[in-house]
Amino acid sequence: MGLITDKLPGYLEHVPGGSILITSIDAIMNHSRANSLWPLAFGTKCCAIEMLMATGAPHQDTSRFGTEVARQTPRQADMMIIAGAIVKKMALRMRLLYEQMAEPRYVIATGSCAISGGPFMYNSYTIVRGADEIVPVDVYVPGCPPRPEAFFWGLLTLQKMIKQGESIRHPDIRKKPVLARLPHGIKSEDIHRQIRELLEQENCVDVVKEARRKIWAAKVDEWIEKTSKKQS
């Protein structure tokens, strides 16, 4: 694999038609990477028990998406599922595990604790506010804990990202998919109209009122009063 990913692009660029070959190699490699993600279940808290174990169980079966080969060693994994809060003492270990993983490696952060610190964000002496302060995170799955369906949504998003993303020309650059779609029954013209109305409302200015509202207006008044007293 090292030969293909490291040296092949350099040789093929000079050959006529080589870039087409590289693109098709990209497509094959991304397809196989996306459909054989080997997970490293990094479960530190209740998300791991409620969500991660449920996804592995037969009712919601992760092997439908090709991610069932759970080895509990980072060296045989390329997708890290962070399920649970990360504390200061754990942060070093998590970074170590991430660096031991096989490249290319992907990270999914599930649950509000792994995303931002969640309910432990304030007044906690030990929480790390978000796993993305330690390792780069590709997909966030919100929830407390998320349903297994939500996790599968995150997994499919990651697969989509891998399929359309990396090229062996630039091995570390990923393109995240943009999934935003308008809700049912809303057109883009409606949004434009609403924004226009808001802008018009905001830009309709009463000059005298606006001048009074500023903080400095009161001070200027004071100053004028003082000077007029001195003059009289």
Partner: protein, 154 residues
């Protein structure tokens, strides 16, 4: 023994102790000087036979300038519970260890030392348990502050 009889019997054993009315289970407050003696007798006396230290923890009463140390005892023989509490000065938090009586207290006292900074006189291995060895301060004290901590003000 039920709650009232147990409290009465402990107070008979140690006249300086007094009962607490606010708790759900039998509870007794003791001065620090009498703590070890009372604990030793509570374990060895067949009438009480408290052969299990369920839990040991502390409460930071910063307004009164005191730490309240709480010992939860359980007797497997009789099946009764007892809560012993004793208050110590917050600025000089030294208390004799009970790890000679119940060996599990080694760990529980290390935990209380880790989070509250209570020093146990006679403890053989008083190190931090949960936090890193180079941690500054004791995080469960009410006046603890940390540059990484995000404080929430209501």
């Amino acid at each position: 023994m039920d709650r009232e009889n147990l409290e009465k019997a402990v107070i008979n054993l140690e006249p300086k102790a007094c009962g607490c009315a606010k708790t759900d289970r039998a509870a007794v407050e003791v001065p620090v000087e009498k703590l070890i003696e009372l604990m030793r007798r509570l374990k060895s006396d067949d009438k009480f036979a408290f052969n299990m230290l369920l839990d040991h923890t502390a409460v930071d009463r910063i307004a009164e300038g005191k730490f309240e140390l709480v010992y939860n005892l359980y007797s497997i023989v009789h099946g009764h519970y007892l809560m012993i509490s004793c208050s110590i000065d917050r600025n000089k938090p030294v208390v004799p260890t009970v790890s000679g009586i119940w060996p599990i207290a080694h760990w529980q006292e290390r935990e209380v030392f880790d989070l509250f900074g209570v020093l146990y006189d006679g403890h053989t291995d008083l190190r931090r348990l949960f936090l890193e060895d180079d941690w500054n301060g004791f995080p469960l004290r009410k006046d603890y502050s940390d540059p990484d901590m995000l404080t929430f003000e209501t």
